[in-house]
């Protein structure tokens, strides 16, 4: 398990992830309302640089919205720049295809500095790795 320093927490702004690399693995750290999430910068679809895409919201129409279009999850939807696959930054899961997910890494904040833990995939890819 390696502990990688990302940088000062207050320099990571919503929608503007910080990137670090560990060997061949590129990791992006995103700020959400309740903390940070770290994901591998590789889309499970065609391995595009997913974390370089915009962070936005998405359209849904469900029984909860009375089957009318609604704009939801603003600031939580990561859109892959290659094929526009959408991922929920809170969980790393692909929206509307829950079995696909981004590889997640645990995040820690210590003395105002953000760190990510990079280790064996099984432990690291847990859905929610809150800081």
């Amino acid at each position: 398990m390696a502990r990688i320093r990302v940088g000062p927490a207050d320099e990571i702004r919503p929608g503007q992830p910080a990137f670090v690399t560990h060997g061949e693995i590129e990791i992006a750290v995103f700020r959400l309302d309740d903390g940070f999430r770290a994901y591998r910068n590789r889309c499970p679809h065609q391995q595009g640089p997913v974390c370089t895409g915009p962070v936005s919201g998405t359209l849904v129409a469900t029984a909860d919205t009375d089957w009318r279009l609604a704009w939801v999850l603003e600031g939580r939807v990561l859109i892959c720049p290659w094929h526009s696959m959408e991922f929920d930054l809170d969980t790393g899961r692909r929206i509307r295809a829950q079995s696909e997910r981004l590889r997640a890494f645990p995040v820690e904040v210590e003395s105002g500095q953000v760190f990510v833990q990079v280790g064996p995939r099984s432990a690291a890819s847990a859905a929610r790795q809150r800081a």
């Binding site: 065609q46 391995q47 595009g48 895409g53 915009p54 962070v55 936005s56 919201g57 359209l59 704009w71 859109i79 720049p81 290659w82 094929h83 526009s84």
Partner: protein
Amino acid sequence: MTRDSRKPLGLDDVFIVDCDVHANEPPEALAPYIDMPWRRSLELLGRGPQRYLDIPGYAPILNLDPPFPDRGLGNRTVTSARQMRDELDELSIDVGILFPDNLLKIAVFPHVDYAAALGRAYNAWLADAWVSRETGLYGAVLAVPQDPKDAAEQIRTYGADDRFVAVYLPVAGLRPLWGDRMYDPIYEAAEEMGLPVMLHSVGIIHPHFPFNLEHVESRIVRHPINHEFALMANLFTMIANGVPVRYPDLEIVFTEGGVSWVPFCMWRMDKEYAEIPTGAPFLERPPSEYIKEMYYCTQPIEEPERARDLVTMIDLFDGRDKVIFASDWPHHDFDHPRKVLNMPFDAQLKRNIMGETARRLFKLPVPVPVA
């Protein structure tokens, strides 16, 4: 040293021909190559506002959708041969066959002379600034459907240039469909010059069948109709009017429709032909036999839940030497070559799809063997 045959083929182990990449041609780039008075038109268009593949009078897309944030769907462009070569290198692609961006919609223009002039300018621009055997970027001669006689002249002119290896037949907004006898001069010239014709569509919603989709809300409804349905409609007319019979040495390629619609076309046409043979009086064999002799580009490659179903699909039309890789780079729905290479094809089928079949089809130079 030879590679370990037990290891799966990697991108660097195969010769990759990409049968569909797009060169962006803004109006101001073509202006120096077009005849008067159209040069004035392109100069004016070049000074005006331009949206992505959406330029009135040049790339008429009739975009009726409300926009939403960050849904640009790619909007990537490649504006020089150098940029294209660098980006294809990143994708491990050895050879690219060039198609236009804006002029994918050239078939909708009612002004015949303008359309023909645009086609001539595009071909001249490609020859001057893009195609080169050294860089592996090859051209497809744009055949303007509104003026088949002029298109035939273009095919004979550029067909003599070994940097052009195909003829591009625009599909989006076409009327009549490519089986019509008015296009015979184009097929005659392509066959004479030994150039395959490549039908290629694009996502527009006007003005003719099967593109009159202006009433359809959803893009995921429109997109397969204006691509796959359009290719199917053109294929049906080409079969019915005997294009593969009357031009037996002409190779026909379908681009940007994937492959899973091919068996349907074979079996449906065979059934129609059995019942109404007078509907296709040119044919000497059942329609499926001609359809099996045509070529189909992979993009957008189907991604079935059971990937091996794609192998079955290709076998249904005896397509092991008829399916050829295309990425559609840099468009929003491009396929990375890794996606196709990692399908559960056997090694020979992978080599065929990724480049060997296209190398033979387009008579490309034999590549230096990969170590």
